[in-house]
Amino acid sequence: MPPTENRPRAKPHLPLFILPFCLAGCSGSQSALSPAGEEASSIYLLLIVTTCGAAVIWCLVTALLVYAGRSRRHVYSAGAGQKLILWGGAILPTSILCLLLGYALWLMPATRPWLTNNETSGFRIEATGEQYWWRFAYRDAENGISFDTANELRLPVGERIRFALRASDVIHSFWIPSLGGKMDMIPGRTNFFSLEATRPGIYRAPCAEFCGTSHALMAFTVVVMEKEPFREWMERQTNLLRPRETEGARLFARHGCAACHTIRGTQARGRIGPDLTDIGARQTIAAGTLANTAENIARFIRAPHAVKPGVKMPAFPMIPQAELTALAAYLKGLQ
């Protein structure tokens, strides 16, 4: 168990004048200001402390600046000025910065503790950034867990989950603002880090490194669940069976979708595009771009570039409307 496990959760008492900041943070599901994770909470506290300090310092210095700039009867001596520079400009900032630096340095390993055996064993999620979507692989060799999904991450509450982050094409950055800070996904490297969610809910996570034309349209959903439902969900994913010979499945195969996409439990085993096994159950489609409706699925298949410029998926203008509707309905039905 990581050393942070027993640390009390940060529950900052907020001074009144930073209330606007708090209000600002209370609306979004994608906000560093409404933390729902260990890391996000401790960073939030640091943020509050430094913001308050900065506000006080700014007010003092600006007041001094205004006072110095106004016409005054009293003119200070150069010696007094030298003292002001020494104390106000050098010694005071040095002491404050030293304390602050100590706080932050102490916080670093406490926030992102090192978990041993990262690569080899235990439960972990391997996330890979692709232009412009997310590949997630749940792995646990000991317990026989191994399944892939895409663009929606499910996490248990109150458990530190390890991530192995990679990129297949260009640099992306993995960031769930409500749970913690970001970590880049860099081709050729694997970055390890971990997150612990403290509050169940649905959060949004954008790609945080500019990755090409549709960088803005690359996000994923994080569903933080209680431990038991999460365990059940994992079990369902591991032992998934799907009827093979439905109309939708045939269309999926006939139009070549299976060349790129996987639907577990069927013949579709393409690895180029996102896994669509439970696409019907996801909050959004096209990596956080559209609401998950059958119409939107059809629209995306017809002309993905119109929704998401620069996307690798080809357009399918040739599919007859009726078949497209059936295909979309099939996909929406994959729960």
Binding site: T94, C98, G102, L105, M108, P109, R112, W114
Partner: protein
């Protein structure tokens, strides 16, 4: 301290202390980065931390020497700034005072740079 001649006529002395900081910074960063990337056998993290601690002590000592020389050049503080007379003496006093201030800043910066060695143990990301 007769090994340091009293009459050093150069602009470069001004930069002594920051250069010491730069070397100390490089030693810490490069040392740790190399260690973490290559994990050489026979060198563990604590040994490296101790070594860099020693480097820090040497750097601080060098800056103190530089500060002392600057203090001397500044006439041990017998004259107050601004040192703006058109004389060689004031020019030297100015150099001494500025060097002394820079030594102070470099001293603090070296301590700042060494702080991570106290707080962070290991190479983890």
């Amino acid at each position: 301290m007769s090994i340091f001649p009293r009459e050093i006529e150069s602009l470069w002395t001004l930069f002594t202390a920051p250069v010491v900081w730069a070397f100390h910074f490089l030693a810490c960063y490069v040392g740790m980065a190399l260690y973490c990337a290559r994990r050489p056998a026979g060198l563990d993290h604590d040994m490296l931390r101790l070594g860099l601690g020693a480097v820090t002590a040497i750097a601080l000592a060098a800056i103190v020497v530089s500060a002392w020389l600057a203090w001397r050049q500044w006439g041990f503080g017998t004259d107050d700034p601004p040192h703006d007379d058109a004389t060689r003496k004031d020019r030297r006093l100015f150099q001494g005072f500025a060097t002394l201030l820079l030594s102070g800043l470099s001293f603090i910066a070296v301590i700042f740079t060494a702080l991570p060695l106290l707080f962070i143990e290991g190479c983890f990301p």
